[in-house]
Symmetry: C2
DNA sequence: CCTTGATTACACCGATCTGTGTAATTAGGC
DNA sequence: GCCTAATTACACAGATCGGTGTAATCAAGG
């Protein structure tokens, strides 16, 4: 059953090329002919592996859904490290925004399956933040996790249009402030003692529901 | 020289329809035939007013570049009010993300003019924040303004995929924390005295360059 | 060697795209 | 009423789109 080496993973090869082109140039901007030509195969072969372009798009987005590997580093480092990885991603040449946001922006609200994948991805990242925040015992892990995702997606959008990787650093600084406000020492503040600095000080730390000035 | 009423602002009529369709369905997804049909004119007439679709796209984006009207309200209210307006926008049925981010996502890095307009828009909002922050005499108006734009764009992206207007509120809460950290009372914190509460306390307020944990 | 399945080249379909050419029609200003 | 300019309908060009049908070729396993 062993095919010749270069065609061993035909489906993966197609998917890799589709991923690259879809992400870099946009989904609507890339035709199946272009993908087939780039892979070096006939269009017929492509359609023997994917019944339609929509299926290829869905598989492409599914493939972008890489969950973060479990880490044993302290939660605070994992959270802030997210923005470091983000900055490295921005600085890399191939970065062009969030594939899920781009897909929703391109394909409109018509395509329900695309939107479902995008929502699932965004939510998974929020949950990832939340679970780390739970270990830190912050007052409102749900809300703070949402706020962190805002910083992530905000910096991604800003970098997409500005090509400015420093947006990730700005997001990190903001994240540090939000974490500090929640009673978490981030190692970047006044005193460097990161050793559990008095969490949950009565209620004044929490960003309470404000009286809507 | 007065044309008959319904055709008095032909160019504007075309532009309004193009704006609506481009924004709601996407730029690539809408053809000039569709626009002309929707306006109720012939395709030839459309091309008599716009030499190409690219020109129409550029004009569409230029038209989205509406600078905020000057306000005499306190800066802090203007800043936080941004997120209230954002939330109302999210809740309105026609909202579909940031037209500039969407355009860049759709058209790729090929179209330089589109990207330039998008950058100009993003920067104008940052400057708007910064100028308000200057009046508040915060330690780092430039950096804080950038952070606020991250919250704005983050909530827009999140709402685009989640259809959840509460993202604007989450952004507002985060903005409140960031402003509070900069020494600005936002009316939602412990003591309600918004009367210039000890700005610029030596250096410990500032989110300093952290030692990169 | 022969069978089997994958891949190939290639033509083709109908639809859609941006953009143009043209001649007829319409309406306003003088 | 006449001139001018805008708008109209409509055909058409040339390209690209997603997708299919077909027959030949190729390679691997028995």
């Amino acid at each position: 059953m062993t095919l010749r080496p270069e065609k061993q993973n035909m489906k993966e090869r197609i998917l890799e090329t589709a991923d690259r082109l879809f992400y870099l140039r946009g989904i609507r901007a890339v035709g199946v002919d272009t993908i087939a030509a780039e892979v070096g195969i006939s269009k017929r072969t492509l359609y023997n592996h994917f019944p339609s372009k929509d299926e290829l798009i869905a598989t492409y987005l599914q493939g972008r859904f890489n969950k973060a590997p479990p880490s044993d580093k302290p939660p605070i480092e994992q959270i802030l490290g997210t923005f470091d990885r983000l900055e490295r991603g921005f600085a890399s040449k191939g970065f062009r925004g969030c594939p899920f946001v781009n897909a929703v922006a391109e394909l409109g609200s018509e395509d329900k399956s695309v939107k479902k994948i995008a929502i699932a991805f965004k939510e998974s990242r929020r949950i990832w933040f939340r679970d780390l925040l739970l270990k830190l015992d912050v007052p409102d892990p749900e809300g703070l996790a949402t706020q962190l995702t805002l910083l992530v997606d905000g910096s991604i959008a800003q970098d997409l249009v500005r090509d400015d990787p420093s947006m990730a650093r700005a997001a990190k600084e903001a994240a540090r402030v939000l974490l500090g406000n929640a009673g978490v020492g981030t190692g970047g503040r006044d005193r460097g003692d990161t050793s559990k600095p008095a969490k949950k000080r009565s209620s004044s730390r929490r960003t309470r529901r404000p009286p809507e000035l």
